[in-house]
Every structure is written in C-alpha cells, then in structure tokens.
C-alpha cells in the first residue's frame, strides 16, 4: 500500500482541480464543448497539408496584434515618427527584435493568406454552402493588404516614403475619382506628417475595427461548415474517406504548425533584423530601384507596363480595368463553379485559378527583373 500513500497529495490536487473544473463546467458547459470538438472530424487525405494555412495566417495575425501593441508603447506618429522608430530600433532594449518580428510577421502573414486563398480555391471550397467564407476571406485579404501598405509608411525612412509615394499611384490611376480619393487618403498632394498621422489612425484603429468582425464571421463559418473536401476526395465513395478528430488530433497538429511558424519567425526576425534607412527627405532623389512591397509588385508592374504600351490615361485605365475585372471574376467564382460534381464549369474555374496564380507569380518576377 506504499504506492497509494505516495499518491495521496496528487489525489488531493486532482480533487481540487476537478472541483474547479466542475464549478466552471456547470456554468460554461466545457464538457459539452470538448465533446463537440471531439466529435467534429477533419478529413484526412494527401492534400490535408493545405488545411493548416488559415490557422497559420491567424497565428501571424495574433503576432501582429501583440507585437503591434508593444510598438505602440514607444511609437509616436507625426513629425517625430522617424525619431521614435530610430529609438525603438537602436536605443530601446530589444526594440529592434520587436520591430523586426512585426515586419517579418507581416510579410509571412500576407504569404500565408495567399497560400490559404489559393489552396481554398483549388479545393473548390468556395462552393455552396461556403460562399460567405470565400467572400469574407476576400475582404480579409483586402484589409490585410491595406494593413501592410499603411504600416509600411509609419517609420518614415526613405524607402517607406518613396514606396508609399509609388504605391499611391495605384489608387491615383482610378479614372475620374483617383486623384481626389488619393489626396484624401494622403492628406494633401504630398506625403507629410499629416499622412503619417492618418495612416497611423488607419493602421491601429480603423483597420482592426473592420478586420476583427470579419475575422470572427470567417472563423465561425469554418466552424459551422467544417473543412471542405478537395475534388479528388469527393470522387471517392464515402467508406473510403478517412478523417481525424478535430480535438485533440487536428488541434494538436494545428498547434504544431503554430510552433513551427513561431520558430521560423524567431529565426528570421533575429538573424535578419529589419533595417531602418535614412530619414525621408522630400528633396533627396529616390533611391535606385525603388519599388513597393512584393505583394504589390504585380499591380505596380502592370501599371508600369500598360503605361509603356498605351501612353497616357489609356494605359492607366486599361491597367486598373484589368485588376478590377480579375477581382470581379475572383469574387463571383462561386457562381461560375457552383455544382458539386466536377464538370466543364469546374475545369474553367481550375484554369482561372491556375492563370491567376501563375500570372501573379510571373508578373511579380518580371517586376523584380526590371528593377
């Protein structure tokens, strides 16, 4: 009976834990929640890898929120913006690391969001009943890109200044209202302290305020509809399909992905710290090869090339027209390919997706090539 004696304190602790659990459970029905999570199944097949990218995007978003709050402790928008980022980078202990993590995580988040979007596309997960998941996802993508664009200006070094200048050419090229809209966004014809102040408000208040409800709906829809099967699995008869439990199996793998993402971020942020260039100077010439961030490169390049082919407003009009048409097709894809079975509609959608993916990659590479 020695063993039972030595387990006595453990027992006591467990009874206390059970009592606390019981108390909370009576009020929040944790048991029901866990039971539900254990009943929930996630399909398991050779494309399962792509199911993790929404979670990875979410992880980087959480990192953005936390590191962003930390940066907010020392960042000062307005005329002192550059000086405050200089202090964060070179003066405040570990400030460089927090800023570097925020910048790297922003890029990784955009990347993860793109991977997530294309994997959802090729799994045809936009079909009934998941259309709203697709549309909220597109809205979240748009907001993510605006997050990236507005955050890029905030340090106000020369790269930020000129990349924003160049980037604002994209909305400025919108026919009729472009100049007006751009001047309102920029707070005048030039990028000044006023621009930083409004980009800051956009970045830390307006965008999160818009982003969070859409994120909540998006995640709730995933929970409601579950993971979609890719066409190759749909073709299999029911008994041949395999699945794993959402909790704990899928959840554990999901957390494993988060841990992997955290490690990759830590390595990038600490070994390749994000640099701060010289302070923006409106009288200084733009540095050679100035270009926007990689995720705006394709739009930038299209505008540039169309401007070359069709000089004047025609080129801008055609360039903008091309994205708009592309975006509209992208948004209505659930209507184009709505059947559950694969058919010619599904093939069309597949080729649209392939063209979009390869087109974006090729134009981006072309853009970097021409720098």
């Amino acid at each position: 009976m020695d063993a039972s004696l030595s387990q006595e304190p453990n027992r006591g602790r467990r009874t206390l834990a059970a009592a606390i659990y019981g108390w909370v459970d009576e009020r929040l029905d944790l048991t029901g929640l866990i039971a539900h999570a254990r009943e929930k199944a996630v399909p398991e097949h050779r494309h399962s890898f792509w199911y993790y990218w929404g979670g990875i995007s979410l992880f980087f978003f959480v990192v953005q929120v936390l590191s962003g709050i930390l940066l907010l402790v020392y960042y000062r928008p307005g005329p002192e913006a550059y000086e405050s980022v200089r202090q964060i980078t070179y003066d405040i202990q570990f400030g460089w690391l927090i800023r570097s993590a925020h910048s790297w995580s922003a890029n990784l988040m955009v990347l993860a969001v793109f991977v997530h979007m294309f994997s959802v596309f090729f799994m045809r997960a936009y079909r009934k009943p998941r259309e709203f998941g697709w549309w909220t996802g597109l809205i979240l993508l748009g907001l993510t890109l605006v997050f990236g664009f507005s955050g890029y200006l905030l340090p106000m070094d020369d790269l930020a200044y000129f990349a924003t200048k160049v980037g604002l050419e994209i909305p400025a090229a919108i026919p009729l209202v472009g100049t007006l809209v751009t001047e309102i966004v920029r707070g005048g014809p030039e990028i000044t302290d006023v621009t930083i102040q409004r980009f800051f408000a956009l970045h830390v208040v307006i965008l999160p305020f818009l982003y969070l409800p859409f994120l909540a709906i998006h995640v709730w829809l995933v929970q409601k509809h579950g993971n979609a099967l890719p066409p190759s699995e749909e073709a299999k008869p029911e008994p041949e399909r395999r699945s794993i439990r959402f909790f704990p199996d899928f959840f554990a793998k999901d957390m494993g992905m988060w841990l992997l993402s955290l490690n990759i971020l830590a390595i990038l942020a600490s070994l390749f710290p994000w640099q701060l260039g010289p302070q923006a100077d409106e009288l200084a010439a733009a540095p050679q090869g100035i270009h926007p961030e990689w995720y705006f490169m394709s739009q930038f390049q299209i505008l540039k090339v169309f401007g070359r082919w069709f000089p004047g407003a025609v080129g801008e009009f055609l360039g903008i027209g091309l994205f708009t048409a592309g975006l509209i097709i992208w948004a209505v894809i659930p209507f184009i390919d709505s059947r559950s079975a694969s058919g010619s509609r599904a093939r069309t959608a597949f080729y649209i997706g392939l063209a979009a993916l390869l087109g974006l990659i090729a134009i981006t590479i072309w853009g970097y090539w021409e720098l």
């Binding site: 467990r14 059970a18 459970d25 866990i34 930390l70 402790v73 405040i92 202990q93 570990f94």
Partner: protein
Amino acid sequence: MINESTIKEIISSQGEDEPEGEDMSRRSFLWMGAGAIGAVYIGAIGYPVYRYLATPAERAAQAAAVTQTTLDGADKLPVNTALMFKFGTKPAMLIRHADGTFSAFNAVCTHLGCTVAYDTAAAKITCACHGGEYDPTSGSNLAGPPPKPLTRFNVEVQDGRVTVARA
C-alpha cells in the same frame, strides 16, 4: 452529474482508465518535458519583452544614481529666494537664506510626494497638498502631515558655481 471520472474520460485522449506503473511515469516524464520546453519559450519571449518595457525605468534608475550636480551662476541667486532644479530624475530646491548661505533639499514632500515650495514671506518650505511645513535650513518637518524631514544635500560654492551633492 460531473465527477472526476467523467472528466478524465473526456480529457484523456484514450478515454481509458489511468495508465499504471511504467506508463504513468512515462506519461509524467513527457508532460514534464513539454512543460520544460514551454517554460523555455515563455522565457525566450518574456525576457526581451520585459527588458523592452523596462528600458525607461532602467534609464531612470541610472539617471537617479547621480551623486552631484553643478549649477552655473547660482551664486547670483538673490537672498531669501529658491531655485528649483533637477537632481537626477527628481525635483530639488536650492535656497539662499537671508544671511547669504545656501541649503539644498530634495523637493519631494515626505508625506505623499508632492513637490514643495519655498514660501518667501514666512521663510519656510511648504507643501500645498496637505499643508506640510519644513524648516528651510535643516529640512526638518515642522507642521502638518509630513512624517520625516526633507532629504538634505551638501552645497559647495566655488568660483561662481554651486555644486550640490548627495550627503
């Protein structure tokens, strides 16, 4: 009814009875390993964040560690007036008495930390917050709630410069 065994059934991934003996120790070893790795991550993230947030406090502690300050031209201070200055990070006060001698104090009230003032008419140091009063030469608490005298600094005058130092 919720009791321990139903919870275990729900939580344990196998839904079986508690593993015995070797299984048990292997399991607790794994949990300990996971806990240790978790602690390393928390430390690796928590330490930089702590130092980041603590930077101003650390800088202030360094600034507060100064032992003396030189006040240029303070020898021209009119009699029966006081000069406020910063000693390290805290406000301090240099008083020139009617006889031309100097006294210097930490100007933080020993009651609840308000900054004290020199009352020329009464030739006393007073605190507006709760009516504390101090002696302008010794700094001792004369009236009101202050529990202790003001911290006194040493004053030295040399070639037109007044040097205030920690006593």
